[in-house]
């Protein structure tokens, strides 16, 4: 299945500080602060390699991490929708 493709802002648009396992992000284009939990920061990192759909993102993340969890693609889709609503990713 190929879902919607997404893009993320370049790295310099997001300032990040790690606080006990969570990331606090300052998103410069919006001036908004988001507190994000894994796997959201990892999805953003994977998207910085270029536009991708959930399946491609999963493949990129598998190269870096041992992934745990069933219905991985669904979980990634759900995270992408959240990140899209927050304005951290968009459709090209």
């Amino acid at each position: 299945m190929t879902g919607a493709r997404y893009i993320a802002d370049p790295e310099e648009c997001v300032q990040s500080v790690a606080l006990d396992g969570l990331s606090v992000l300052f998103h410069r284009p919006s001036g908004m602060t988001h507190i994000v939990a894994p796997p959201a920061p990892q999805i953003l990192e994977a998207l910085r390699m270029g536009p991708a759909d959930a399946g491609e993102i999963l493949a990129r993340m598998r190269a870096w991490y041992d992934l745990e969890g069933d219905e991985a693609a669904d979980a990634i889709e759900a995270r992408l929708e959240e990140l899209e609503a927050a304005g951290l990713v968009s459709r090209p």
Partner: protein, 286 residues
């Protein structure tokens, strides 16, 4: 305006105008001994009738100024002092863009500041007032101002606003001359203002480096619990009236504060054990 008065509180100067003399007379008495205000004021507050005839008929004070809230209801002229205080609060809450404004009490010792923040009724105001009489310097009971450039806390020692039970606690501690009139039947119950002591006023221009953040809660058995940094960050953004509007500068200042400062939540059953608990936690943090 017919009557006017300027006040300097920490780094902030207010210009307060009023249709009636009484609220400003009360304000001048309460703020006796404060330093001469800057000629240029940060904010203008206006106490004026809601409509022209309300100046005479059942007079009610509308709180206006540089920044206003649309739904704010007017107050009785008898509570004009409170209206003036609220007018200043309102300007700070809506218009302060120079410092990161935290809704928190703060006290200082040895150049280092303790920040007390928490929900309404947590007792931080009373606790700060009490600490201010017992060896600490009161920096403020309501707003703490974090300098965006150097990360230090600036004092904002306005008159402490004591509510209901807290009034008696402080009346036992402080001479009568430092109190304002007791205001009964205000929308939040009985209120009495307390002028900070001379030490707090003399040192109001001296900043302090934040050293400990506490989240006190009144009415529970004594307990201390750690609070994770992410939670501290989240709570402080919710305690700030201007975090979002400061953008990146606010983010930098707040993440640095959370990173540099230890913090804890503390429950306390009464004010004496609270003071004791604060001293213990302060020593541990040092």
């Amino acid at each position: 305006m017919k009557h006017s008065l300027s006040l300097q509180i920490g780094p902030v100067a207010f210009r307060i105008g009023s249709t009636w003399a009484a609220p400003l007379d009360a304000l001048a008495r309460l703020y006796a001994g404060y330093p001469e205000p800057d000629r240029i004021c940060d904010f203008t507050v206006r106490l004026e009738p809601e409509s022209p005839w309300r100046r005479w008929v059942r007079p009610s004070v509308a709180i206006h100024g540089d920044y206003v809230l649309p739904d704010a209801a007017p107050m009785s002229l008898a509570h004009g002092l409170l209206a003036a205080e609220m007018g200043m609060n309102l300007q700070m809450a809506l218009g302060q863009k120079h410092y990161l404004l935290l809704h928190a009490a703060s006290v200082e010792k040895g150049g280092r500041a303790l920040i007390l923040t928490g929900e309404s009724g947590a007792g931080k105001s009373t606790l700060a007032a009490l600490l201010g009489e017992r060896g600490w310097r009161l920096m403020g009971d309501e707003f703490a101002l974090l300098d965006l450039d150097d990360g230090r806390l600036r004092a904002f020692p306005r008159a402490v606003s004591l509510k209901n039970g807290a009034i008696r606690v402080m009346e036992r501690e402080v001479a009568a001359e430092r109190f304002g009139p007791r205001l009964d039947g205000t929308p939040k119950g009985s209120i009495r203002h307390l002028r900070p002591n001379p030490r707090a006023l003399e040192a109001m221009a001296e900043p302090a480096r934040p050293a400990l953040i506490l989240f006190p809660r009144f009415g529970e058995a004594t307990a201390v619990r750690p609070v994770g940094q992410a939670e501290v960050f989240m709570r402080l953004t919710q305690a700030s009236t201007n975090y979002v509007s400061l953008g990146g500068a606010g983010f930098d200042a707040l993440t640095k504060l959370v990173d540099a400062c230890p913090s804890a939540a503390m429950d306390y059953p009464d004010t004496d054990s609270a003071v004791e608990l604060v001293e213990t936690l302060w020593e541990q943090a040092a």
